[in-house]
C-alpha cells in the first residue's frame, strides 16, 4: 500500500463500506455523476481504476470545464469528448448526454452525435446552446433520425437549428421525444413531429417567440401522452399565429400550459385526462387573438370525453366570453380541479359546474392572486342549480380558503345544494387560528343538502 505524503492513514480494513458493493452498483452510482467525475474516480483506488469504462452512461458537459480560475478553453472539452467516446467505445452505452453552452466552439459536434448513434445508444440527450447568432444553421445528422436503437431523445432546438426528418420512416423505435425550443425553425416544427410510429410520449416546451407563424403537425399513431408547455410571451400585444394539428387517436393525457391561446385541432382521441393552464390570460388579452372564440371551442371539443380535468383559464370567467363561447358539455367528467384567480373566479366555477353534469369530485383552489387585475368579482349564485350538485357530486375540496365573505357564501351554496355530498374538506390559507375556528364552526352549522355530508378542516395541507 503506497502511503502518500499528506494523506491520512484511513484505510482500516472493514471501514471501507463502499468497496463492499458489487461492481454493478458502483457503476450504477457513477452513472449518476458526470463523466468527468467518473473518470476522476479512476484514481481513487485499484478497484475504481477502470470503473468508468463500464458505466453505461456518458454525461459530457462543457460546464465541467469551466472554472473561475482560468478562461474557458473549448479545446480541452473537445479533447475530452473525443477521448471519452473513443476509449470508452461508444457501444454498450445506454445513455449519452451532451451539453454544450456554445456550439460554435465545436465544429465536429455532428461527429459526436453520429458516434453515439453508431454505438446503438438507447437514450440520447442533446442540450445545445449558443451565445450568439449562428451564421450557419445547425443541422442534426441524418443518422440520428434513422437510428434503430434510440428509444428516448431529448433535444434543444434554438434559433437556427434545423431538424427535418429526411424520410417518412424516421425514429423507428423512439418512444419518448422531448424537445425544448427557442424561436424554433418553422419548417422543423412542421415536420419533426410527424414521424414516430411507436412514439408514446411527446413533450414540446420552451419559448416560441413573438410574432411567430408556426404550424405544429403532430402525427403519432401510438401517442399516449402529449405535453405542450410554453413560456409566456414577453410582449403583451405581440400577436402570434400558432396552430397545433394533433392527430393522435390513442392519446390519453394532454398537458397544456401557455398564454397565447393557440389553435388546437385535436382529432378523434382517447383522452381521459387533460391539464390545461392559460395562466395570466384574461379576456382583455384574448381580444387581440383572432379567432379566439373559435380556438376555445375547438379545444373543448377536442377534450370532450375527458374524465379528469384540471383547468386554469381566467378569461373563461369573464361574462363577455361566456356569451360568445358555447362550451360543449363534458359528459364524462368525473374529477375537476379548478384554479380560480381572484379576478374572475366565481363565474368560472359556475360555468364549469354547468357543463359537467356527472361530476363527482371537485377540487377548488381559490384566492390565487391575479397580478394584473386585483379586483375581486363577487359571487352570485347561478339561476339554475347545476345538475352535478344535485345528483353526483360526492367530494369537495377547497384550498386557499381565506374566510372572506364570498368564500363562505360559496361553501354554503355548495353544501346546501350538494344532495349527495359525502366529504367537504376545507384547507385554510394564512388565516389566524382563532378566526378559522369561528369560521369553521359557522360553516359546520350550515344547512346541508346531504345527510352523509361530513365537513373537515384539516390543519395541514397535503
Amino acid at each position: 500500500m503506497t502511503m502518500q505524503m499528506g494523506s491520512k492513514t484511513n484505510s482500516k480494513p472493514g471501514q471501507d463500506r463502499i468497496s463492499g458493493l458489487p461492481d454493478e452498483i458502483l457503476c450504477h452510482i457513477l452513472s449518476f455523476t458526470s463523466t468527468v467525475d467518473a473518470v476522476k474516480a479512476s484514481v481513487l483506488s485499484r478497484r475504481w481504476e477502470n470503473m468508468w469504462l463500464r458505466v453505461p452512461t456518458l454525461y459530457l458537459s462543457d460546464d465541467d470545464f469551466r472554472s473561475d480560475e482560468r478562461e474557458f478553453d473549448p479545446e480541452r472539452f473537445v479533447a475530452f469528448v473525443d477521448r471519452a467516446l473513443f476509449l470508452r467505445g461508444s457501444s454498450s452505452i445506454h445513455r449519452i448526454s451532451i451539453r454544450c453552452s456554445d456550439t460554435e466552439n465545436y465544429p465536429h459536434l455532428d461527429e459526436w452525435i453520429c458516434s453515439a448513434i453508431r454505438g446503438n445508444v438507447v437514450e440520447l440527450e442533446l442540450d445545445l446552446h449558443e451565445s450568439d447568432f449562428r451564421y450557419e444553421p445547425l443541422e442534426l445528422p441524418r443518422s440520428l433520425f434513422m437510428s434503430r436503437s434510440l428509444v428516448v431523445l431529448k433535444l434543444t432546438l434554438e434559433e437556427n437549428y434545423v431538424a427535418i426528418p429526411p424520410s417518412s420512416d424516421c425514429f423507428p423505435c423512439l418512444k419518448l421525444l422531448d424537445v425544448s425550443v427557442f424561436y424554433p425553425d418553422p419548417a422543423t416544427m412542421e415536420s419533426l413531429f410527424t414521424c414516430g410510429p411507436v412514439l408514446e410520449h411527446l413533450i414540446i416546451e420552451g419559448y416560441l417567440g413573438e410574432d411567430q407563424y408556426l404550424n405544429f403537425n403532430i402525427f403519432a399513431p401510438k401517442l399516449k401522452r402529449l405535453e405542450l408547455r410554453f413560456d409566456p410571451c414577453d410582449e403583451v400585444d405581440s400577436v402570434s399565429n400558432i396552430l397545433f394539428n394533433i392527430n393522435a387517436p390513442k392519446l390519453e393525457r394532454l398537458d397544456l400550459n401557455e398564454n397565447f391561446l393557440a389553435s388546437y385541432c385535436l382529432s378523434e382521441n382517447a383522452l381521459s385526462e387533460a391539464n390545461i393552464s392559460f395562466s395570466d390570460l384574461h379576456s382583455e388579452d384574448i381580444q387581440f387573438i383572432t379567432g379566439s372564440v373559435d380556438h376555445i371551442q375547438k379545444l373543448f371539443e377536442g377534450i370532450l370525453n375527458v374524465k379528469h380535468l384540471s383547468l386554469q383559464a381566467p378569461f373563461l370567467g369573464d361574462p363577455d366570453t361566456e356569451s360568445r363561447c358555447n362550451l360543449p358539455k363534458l359528459n364524462n367528467l368525473k374529477h375537476l380541479e379548478l384554479q380560480l384567480e381572484n379576478c374572475c373566479s366565481w363565474q368560472l366555477l359556475t360555468r364549469l359546474l354547468t357543463i359537467s353534469p356527472n361530476l363527482e369530485y371537485l377540487v377548488l383552489e381559490i384566492n390565487i392572486q391575479c397580478c394584473e387585475y386585483p379586483n375581486e368579482d363577487g359571487w352570485s349564485p347561478p339561476k339554475l342549480v347545476p345538475i352535478c350538485l344535485v345528483s353526483c357530486l360526492k367530494n369537495l375540496f377547497i384550498r386557499g380558503f381565506k374566510g372572506e365573505p364570498d368564500d363562505i357564501e360559496v361553501a354554503k351554496y355548495l353544501m346546501k345544494h350538494g344532495e349527495v355530498l359525502n366529504n367537504v374538506t376545507i384547507y385554510s390559507c394564512d388565516v389566524p387560528a382563532e378566526d378559522m375556528l369561528k369560521v369553521s364552526q359557522e360553516i359546520s352549522m350550515f344547512p346541508k343538502g346531504s345527510n352523509t355530508c361530513q365537513v373537515e378542516f384539516p390543519k395541514i395541507d397535503m
Binding site: 484511513n10 463502499i18 452510482i29 457513477l30 471519452a84 441524418r142 443518422s143 417567440g209
Partner: protein, 345 residues
C-alpha cells in the same frame, strides 16, 4: 412442509411474514410490506416460505437487522397506493439523510433484495456525495485504500487529455467530409437557390472552415436569453478560410512535442472499427467517393498505428510547407498528394 404451504389467514387478522437475518434473529412483518421487496415476494410465491416462525425466509447476508428496519420503513411507506408523487418525494428526501456508512449498507442490502427504487435512491445520494469532491476527499469519506501508484494514477488521465493520434484522425476525417460536402454544394449552387435556404456561398465557406472559434465566456442563463431579441445575421460574415488549416498545423506541432507513450488501451484498429464503419454517415456524398474516403482514412489509421514517429514527421513537414491537404498513402510509404481533384476549386 405442509404447514408452510397452508398459510392460514383469518380475515380479521393481518397476515405476517417471518424473516430471518444472517445473524439468526427472526422478525415478523406485515405481508403487504414484505411483498414490496421483489426477492421476498418471489420466495413466498415460489417456495411458500415465510408464513411461520419455523419457516422464516432467510435474507441475504448483506441484510442486517438494523438496515432491515430501514428497508421495511421504506416499504411500509411506499406500498400504500394512494400517495401522491410529491408525498413520495418528500419522504425519500427525508429518508435518505443518514451517514455515508449507513447509506452504503443500505445500498448493499437493497440491492440484494432487488428493491430497485431504493437502490436508485441510495445510488443517487452516493453520487451526489462523490460529485465535486477531490479524490482525497472521496477517499476520506469512504475510507478507501490509496493503493494505486503515482504512475497508475496518471495514466487514465493522460489517456484522456493527451492523445494526438486520435485528434489528428478525427480532424482529418471531419475535414475531408466537409471538403467533399462543400464541393458537392458548390456544384449544385443553382439547385440550392431554389430551396428556401438563405445561406450564401460566403456563409457556406465559413461553415466549412469552422468559423471563428473564440470562446464566448460563461453561458448566459436561460431566463436571460428569453428576453433577448432574436438576432438577424449581419451582412458580412467573417471569412476565415485559413482559420481551420492554421489550427491543424498548430495542433500537429504541439502534438508532436507532447507525444505520449503509446498506451496499450489505445488501439487504433478499434478506432477504425468504431469510428469509420458506418454507411449512413455520409449519405449525401457520392458513394464511390465515400468509399475512397473511407479506404483512405483506414489506410491512414493503419499507417498511424504502425509507424507513428515517421508518420508524424511526414505530416508535420507537409503541413508546414503548404496548406495541409489530405494525403494518400500508398504501399511504399511515400506520401503522394491526393489527386482526385480535392484541391482543385
Amino acid at each position: 412442509m405442509s404447514e408452510a404451504v397452508m398459510a392460514v389467514v383469518k380475515p380479521e387478522m393481518k397476515s405476517y411474514i417471518w424473516l430471518q437475518t444472517a445473524d439468526g434473529s427472526i422478525q415478523q412483518v406485515e405481508e403487504e410490506v414484505a411483498m414490496f421487496c421483489p426477492m421476498i415476494c418471489r420466495e413466498i410465491l415460489q417456495t411458500g416460505m415465510g408464513s411461520s416462525k419455523n419457516y422464516a425466509i432467510s435474507l441475504p447476508q448483506r441484510v442486517n437487522p438494523a438496515v432491515l428496519g430501514l428497508i421495511l420503513d421504506y416499504c411500509r411507506f411506499h406500498q400504500v397506493p394512494g400517495r401522491s408523487n410529491k408525498e413520495r418525494k418528500t419522504f425519500d428526501e427525508k429518508f435518505i439523510r443518514m451517514d455515508t456508512k449507513k447509506l452504503c449498507e443500505l445500498t448493499s442490502a437493497a440491492d440484494s433484495l432487488q428493491l430497485k427504487p431504493l437502490v436508485d435512491l441510495t445510488s443517487r445520494a452516493l453520487a451526489r456525495i462523490i460529485e465535486g469532491k477531490t479524490p482525497e476527499e472521496i477517499r476520506e469519506t469512504f475510507h478507501l485504500p490509496d493503493d494505486l501508484t503515482e504512475e497508475e494514477k496518471l495514466e487514465p488521465l493522460r489517456n484522456i487529455t493527451d492523445d494526438p493520434r486520435i485528434r489528428l484522425l478525427n480532424r482529418l476525417y471531419a475535414r475531408k467530409r466537409k471538403e467533399l460536402k462543400e464541393r458537392e454544394k458548390l456544384k449544385n449552387v443553382e439547385a440550392e437557390e431554389e430551396r428556401v435556404d438563405q445561406r450564401s456561398v460566403d456563409d457556406l465557406l465559413t461553415f466549412i472552415n469552422g468559423g471563428n472559434g473564440d470562446s464566448k465566456g460563461v453561458k448566459t442563463n436561460k431566463n436571460k436569453k428569453k428576453n433577448r431579441r432574436r438576432k438577424d445575421p449581419p451582412k458580412d460574415s467573417s471569412n476565415n478560410v485559413n482559420g481551420n488549416h492554421n489550427k491543424e498545423s498548430e495542433a500537429l506541432s504541439s502534438a508532436f512535442h507532447n507525444e505520449s507513450r503509446p498506451s496499450s488501451s489505445c488501439n487504433l484498429q478499434d478506432c477504425t472499427a468504431i469510428e469509420f464503419d458506418d454507411g449512413d454517415v455520409d449519405d449525401d456524398l457520392d458513394p464511390a467517393m465515400k468509399e475512397q474516403l473511407d479506404r483512405e482514412v483506414e489506410d491512414f489509421a493503419r499507417r498511424l498505428n504502425s509507424d507513428w514517429p515517421e508518420r508524424m514527421q511526414e505530416i508535420l513537414s507537409l503541413g508546414q510547407e503548404r496548406r495541409l491537404a489530405p494525403i494518400n498513402i500508398n504501399g511504399n510509404g511515400s506520401a503522394r498528394r491526393y489527386t482526385t481533384g480535392l484541391d482543385q476549386r
